[in-house]
């Protein structure tokens, strides 16, 4: 009886302790704005590389970086801004030579589709018509950093920050606008295109620096070969065509 119980416990322990990463499995930690595009790309990659399996983990680039820095067993990191990748590089998590820009994007202001008022310029957002504005949290969300950057440059950050409803990733900001819980929000052009019936683009916001998404295999990737293979795949004409179809620009 005891022996049987012990064997059962040992089996349970073995299940728990079996390594999380298996051969041929690529764990990709990617910016939330890439959700649909990468989901479309995975079947293409898996068809081209039988035996490989891609696991996608989406979130704010800053939050993903925090996970990776704490030892999350990711193989590839795709960030929505250079800053998160710079931090990864500074901590030795990625090698500078393996880092490449994958796509570009643009920042837009969106309003709920049913909204009667739409801002025409950034300054309008400081007015009383816009009481709540969804902005990614600048500490961890790239779209929030871009937003704070343009608002500071326009000397509007202090007026708009009190109205800010912080989002933990860009898709949360999109959701807040789509549900009509905020009067406007800052997202990427590609996000606005995900919910065309629920949000509409008021205007595009020019950013001081272009919005480019860097990608790199992680230096400590459990499956390094597959990681490099997946990153290479992202730059093939077929993969780039899918990204363009989702509204992303060429890097």
């Amino acid at each position: 009886m005891h022996a049987r119980l012990l064997r059962l416990l040992a089996l349970a322990a073995a299940c728990w302790l079996s390594p999380a990463a298996r051969a041929g499995e690529v764990v990709v930690s990617a910016a939330a704005s890439l959700t649909q595009a990468l989901r479309d790309l995975v079947p293409l990659y898996e068809a081209a590389h039988p035996g490989d399996r891609v696991l996608l983990n989406f979130g704010a680039s800053g939050a993903l970086l925090a996970q990776i820095a704490k030892g999350a067993p990711a193989d590839v990191f795709v960030s929505a801004d250079q800053e998160s990748m710079d931090q990864a590089q500074d901590r030795g998590l990625v090698r500078p030579a393996q880092r490449r820009d994958m796509v570009s994007n643009s920042l837009v202001v969106i309003v709920p589709a049913a909204a009667t008022r739409a801002p025409r310029a950034l300054a309008d957002l400081a007015g009383p018509d816009f009481g709540r504005i969804a902005i990614g949290l600048p500490a961890s969300v790239p779209v929030g950093r871009y937003t704070r950057g343009v608002l500071e440059a326009a000397d509007l950050w202090r007026a708009i920050e009190p109205k800010m409803i912080g989002a933990h990733h860009v898709r949360q900001a999109l959701d807040y606008v789509a549900r009509g819980e905020v009067d406007a929000g800052f997202v990427y052009a590609t996000d606005a295109a995900v919910l065309p019936g629920k949000v509409r683009v008021a205007f595009t916001v020019p950013t001081a620096r272009p919005i480019r998404y860097p990608v790199a295999p992680l230096a400590a990737a459990p499956n390094a070969a597959e990681a490099v293979r997946f990153v290479d795949f992202l730059f093939t004409p077929g993969a780039q065509a899918v990204l363009v179809r989702h509204g992303f620009g060429k890097p």
């Binding site: 939050a63 709540r132 949290l137 500490a139 961890s140 819980e181």
Partner: protein
């Protein structure tokens, strides 16, 4: 770290309000369920206990659909009073109240069921009205059990995270409770802030549990 103390104050405020609302709601519903027999009582009991079992995200979504500005109640509030509940501390109170409600309701129902009906009948023969019976006989006899439930519900409300995040967001100084502040600090990789907040939360919860034991010696363990 002043923002940590603001988060603590807000957490206590939200949990306090939720507990106060549950004091009234939980006792009323618990008493009704203990005293009245009606078809579908078990189903109703299960439905009222559901918030304790369901994932907080499911609750949060239900709440968004109901009190969101496009929701059934939310649209009405917005149209007639111009009130938007989402992203307010009141929304956090609603979430915490619903999540913690079953703890009070269950305790109250069990406590009222253990009150000897003969004592209530004796009071009635002495000419006391129904309200008098409730406040002077039933409630004092059931109070120990209810208090245990209330303390647990306060502790549960303190730790509420998932549904609160969905309906109240994470606005520093306004809706950012301790649990949400911890989440945000970890997401941003600010470990110093996270360490301080986690320590503060642990101390607060321990203090609540210890004072619960003081307030109701031997009662929490007996009836919890």
């Amino acid at each position: 770290m002043p923002e940590a103390w603001v988060a603590l104050a807000l957490t206590l405020k939200v949990a306090g309000w939720a507990t106060a609302i549950n004091l009234v709601l939980g006792i009323a519903v618990g008493h009704a369920m203990a005293r009245w027999r009606f078809p579908g009582r078990d189903l109703l009991d299960a439905a009222l206990t559901l918030p304790m079992v369901m994932p907080p995200t499911v609750l949060g979504y239900y709440l968004l659909v109901v009190i969101g500005s496009q929701g059934v109640i939310g649209a009405w509030l917005l149209q007639h009073f111009g009130i938007r509940l989402i992203f307010t501390w009141q929304a956090a109170v609603i979430a915490a109240t619903i999540v913690a409600f079953p703890l009070v309701f269950k305790a109250a129902r069990a406590a009222f069921e253990q009150v000897d009906p003969q004592l209530e009948d004796a009071a009635r023969t002495l000419g006391i009205g129904e309200w008098g019976v409730f406040f002077r006989v039933s409630l004092p006899l059931a109070w120990r059990g209810i208090l245990a439930g209330l303390l647990l519900s306060f502790a549960r409300a303190l730790g509420e995270f998932g549904a609160t995040l969905m309906v109240a967001g994470s606005i520093a100084g306004k809706t950012q409770t301790l649990s949400i502040a911890v989440y945000e600090a970890v997401q941003a990789g600010r470990d110093d802030t996270a360490n301080f907040l986690v320590a503060l939360t642990s101390i607060t919860c321990t203090a609540v549990l210890l004072s619960a034991g003081r307030l109701a010696p031997g009662r929490v363990a007996a009836r919890g």
